[in-house]
């Protein structure tokens, strides 16, 4: 079971790091698309089985997942990201409700929805553990890479987990994993409040 803090990476989850990076269009990339559609299926499942209606996507990027949820009529969703080009693309090209915001500053308020999504977000954060504790929602769907190690990981990642390490980390922050899915080098978890 692996949980590893990459040293000296405090800068990578900041506005300055992200502001000029190009928008990543994950929904148009085959393996990322499958991951996002799996995420959407878990979100839809939560709407059908756990009375989830309002959804917030923290770290929504270019809004690909929000667009799919909107097109399918799955819940009422809104997104936040501090990557300007991504939010602009989400609004202009995908027509979804996305907001430019440092969601980490106001996390408790912004996550006053039934379900919070953090897709490929936690591994970027300085303190993912406290972030998970601060979420106000009753449900979360989160995903992160599961194939990285302390010896090989993306430059912009501050944390590395394998599947078991990720599930354990989430469980220790007061969440009960209801479903864990591995798909294309990522682990996706649907969890509810303890």
């Amino acid at each position: 079971m692996l949980e590893y803090r990459v040293p000296n990476k405090e800068f990578v989850a900041t506005y300055d790091f992200h502001k000029d990076r190009p928008a990543a269009h994950h929904m148009e990339q085959p393996e990322n698309k499958i991951r996002l559609l799996c995420t959407a299926a878990l979100v839809e499942y939560a709407t059908l089985c756990h009375n989830v209606e309002s959804i917030v996507d923290c770290g929504c990027g270019d809004g690909g997942l929000l667009q799919y949820l909107k097109q399918r009529g799955i819940g009422n969703s809104v997104g936040y990201d501090f990557h300007g080009p991504g939010v602009k693309y989400a609004r202009d090209a995908r027509g979804v409700s996305a907001n430019y915001a440092n969601f980490l500053e106001n996390l408790e308020m912004l996550t006053e929805a039934d379900l919070t999504i953090m897709s490929e977000v936690l591994e970027h954060l300085d303190d993912p553990h406290t972030t998970l504790q601060r979420i106000s929602s009753s449900w979360i769907v989160v995903s992160s890479p599961n194939n990285e190690t302390q010896y090989g990981h993306a430059d912009e990642h501050q944390w590395v987990w394998d599947r078991d390490g990720y599930v354990n980390m989430i469980s220790k922050q007061g969440w009960v994993p209801y479903q864990v899915v591995d798909v294309h080098n990522a682990t996706i978890v649907l969890a509810g409040r303890l």
Binding site: A41, V176, P177
Partner: protein, 196 residues
């Protein structure tokens, strides 16, 4: 290979049945309570497609009636280059692959066994549609994998059936969206991968 929910009350029976192969052949779908079945299927398929020539699906309401059903199907599918194969499920007037055997090429080409946007239903429609579109599908009328479905009085309409019925309508919408937006591309991907 058998995928079992970790809270399935019959899990010990599966473990006994699979015996010494437990660690290799029984996959636990980790979590609490009911799951999105398609995610569990894809989870197992993606992780095994590189190690097996064929992958299959049968629910816990299927019964394998014909001996050596696996060899009968895979030998013929190999000979005929069939991507999708399905047995006779004895369900009246039914032509759906409610259980299925697919060439692992399908999973390697697409990255999934069934469209990942589905929760539980319409996987059989997908396998039928993709096989027909590729003209690479084989039906085995003499191989029986019986579908013990409650609608033909072969089982009770239990809590699990009731739970998954709520996914019929949303999965219908999801599959229609998939057919409209992604199906043609996926047919081309498999055809290119398989050299059809």
């Amino acid at each position: 290979m058998v995928c079992v929910d970790d809270d399935d009350p019959t899990l010990p029976n599966y473990k006994d049945m699979m015996g010494e192969f437990i660690s290799e052949r029984v996959y636990l779908a980790v979590g609490l309570g009911s799951k999105t079945m398609i995610s569990v299927l894809n989870n197992a398929a993606i992780n095994n497609a590189d190690y097996y020539d064929f992958l299959g699906f049968a629910g816990d309401d299927h019964r394998f009636v014909t001996d050596n059903w696996d060899l009968a199907m895979t030998d013929s599918m190999r000979k005929n280059n069939a991507i999708v194969g399905y047995a006779n499920d004895l369900y009246p007037h039914n032509d759906l692959p409610t259980s299925v055997v697919v060439d692992s090429i399908l999973v390697r080409a697409l990255g999934f066994l069934a469209p990942p946007e589905l929760i539980h239903m319409y996987a059989d429609n997908f396998w039928l549609d993709i096989g027909n579109e590729l003209q690479s599908i084989e039906y085995f009328p003499d191989v029986v994998i019986e579908h013990m479905h409650y609608t033909v009085n072969k089982s009770n309409r239990d809590a699990d059936y009731l739970r998954v019925e709520k996914f019929m309508q949303p999965d219908s919408v999801a599959y229609s969206s998939y057919k409209q937006n992604s199906f043609d591309d996926d047919v081309r991907k498999i055809a290119a991968y398989a050299g059809i």
